[in-house]
Amino acid sequence: MKMHTSSKLRKEFIKKWVKGLQICCSSKKNMDILERKKKIKLCADIALASAKNETTLWSIALISEAKKDDENKILVDNLLGPESRFKPRMTNRQMIACHKRVRSKKILKKSRHVCQKMKKMGPPKSNLAAYIAKKLVKRRTQVLKRLVPGGESMDKFSLIKEALDYILSLRIQVDVMRTLVNANEVLNQSDSKIYN
């Protein structure tokens, strides 16, 4: 069952990626390598996210991030089609609200921690192992939040769920790109053989 959905996703991704690249090329020709790479990557990312069709948080976040940039906006809109014009805007607002909530929560937590630490001097010794473990986990979840797009406004579980989905989709993306590169290499080799 997972294979089935992944192959479906793969096809969607390829379709959208090719489409996006065509749009890119038609809009502007003669870019240097870095620009090209950026465009390729951007198209790939957006294609991946839109292939998800708004089912996951990270895809929504990714698309809305891309939309913020003006020059990408046209591309994104064309790529996505008229389906999801309104949703990202709403989730953007929600995300801003989320960010604010998260920030205020963090401030509260920090102040609480500071107060608690000042009160408790002895007991942390006994809880030292647990305390250290918790700190490690916390630090790592922070890093993960930064990696997964839109991760900051997610709580612990949905973060893990999203990370899971994100990993699967990234895998597909890497797979497709890699086969393309390999195909290219094979072609180049065969080409050189033919011409020599």
């Binding site: 192959s7 870095l34 090209r36 990312d45 006994s126 473990a133 990993i167 990234l170 072609l187």
Partner: protein
């Protein structure tokens, strides 16, 4: 080292030690026991256990007290409960069982958790938490709503961690949240880096035409040579046949006109001409099973559609 505070109730234990002197407890400890706030040795609960065994006395209240103390050795670690335990110790005599039982359970939970966390540091948080849940499930809690919610929360997280274990390679040997999160982070970072690298590579490969639109065009322009030279030796399968058909229909319309039109394109894109074409063959070359073949076939159809559209566009320019 003897940082564990001891509670009032230890005075009861003291009485028993007088009757059955424990070889482990030193003379120095004895005067301590007389004080209301006692400090115990680290392995105190072990001593307790051994003494408790010896003191399987017929007196029911005594045995209850023993249990109480064994349990509450766990509470040595929690300074908060000091006063509670003192109260409890008083209650012990009055045989107020319900409260005691509840607090016993609580302390057992804490004790188990502390033990586990002391034994295995980093790897046990998840397991410790899981074990913790089991204990709680067996015995229930005084403050139910909070603990239930917490338990559910933890179970959810651990379940998702397990799912992630299945996905992230090399994660099944790792236990514990921190290490697993580490692996996950590394994996996500490596995947993202791969995407960057591959997109850079793709950008570098097509010097003039980086998008597939033009590739497809040029492919349409040069169907015969590429096909005959490169495709046939490489592609033995059905896909080739259907593709040949598709291209053959286009060939008469496009080859003659457009060969002259975009010679540059053809030359420079010779390397990437059949790029997408090759892409369809890749499933055969790599041969990774049904999924890829399916993908290949559908991809081919998709590319055909694109090509048809693009070739029409091209020809319309003339």
């Amino acid at each position: 080292m003897a940082a564990f505070s001891h509670q009032q109730h230890q005075s009861f234990f003291l009485d028993q030690t007088v009757l059955f002197p424990n070889p482990n407890t030193t003379a120095a400890c004895f005067p301590q026991f007389h004080q209301p706030h006692n400090h115990a040795v680290h392995g105190y609960h072990h001593d307790q256990a051994s003494v408790a065994n010896k003191l399987q006395s017929p007196d029911s209240s005594m045995s209850m007290v023993l249990d109480d103390q064994k349990v509450e050795s766990g509470n040595e670690l929690l300074a908060k409960k000091r006063k509670d335990k003192q109260m409890l110790a008083h209650h012990a005599q009055s045989k107020d069982t319900s409260n005691k039982v509840k607090k016993q359970k609580k302390t057992i939970d804490y004790q188990e958790e502390k033990k586990k966390k002391n034994t295995k540091k980093g790897s046990s948080e998840e397991e410790g938490a899981v074990g913790y849940i089991h204990v709680r499930a067996r015995r229930g809690q005084a403050t139910d709503s909070h603990s239930l919610a917490e338990r559910v929360r933890r179970e959810k997280i651990s379940e998702r961690m397990r799912l992630l274990q299945a996905i992230v390679p090399g994660c099944d040997k790792v236990t514990g949240k921190a290490l697993m999160l580490d692996e996950i982070i590394n994996y996500v970072q490596s995947l993202q880096n791969q995407v960057e690298f591959l997109s850079m590579k793709l950008a570098s490969v097509n010097p003039m035409l980086y998008d597939f639109g033009i590739d497809l065009d040029s492919f349409m322009l040069k169907p015969d040579e590429n096909m005959s030279n490169m495709v046939l030796p490489i592609m033995p399968s059905l896909q080739q046949c259907s593709l040949n058909e598709g291209v053959a229909t286009l060939a008469p319309t496009t080859t003659n006109d457009n060969c002259n039109y975009l010679p540059q394109l053809i030359d420079s894109s010779a390397a990437t001409n059949s790029l997408l074409f090759q892409q369809e063959h890749m499933p055969n070359i790599l041969s990774q099973g049904n999924e890829h073949e399916l993908w290949g076939v559908d991809e081919q159809r998709l590319k055909l559609d694109n090509r048809f559209a693009l070739s029409n566009n091209l020809t319309s320019f003339h």
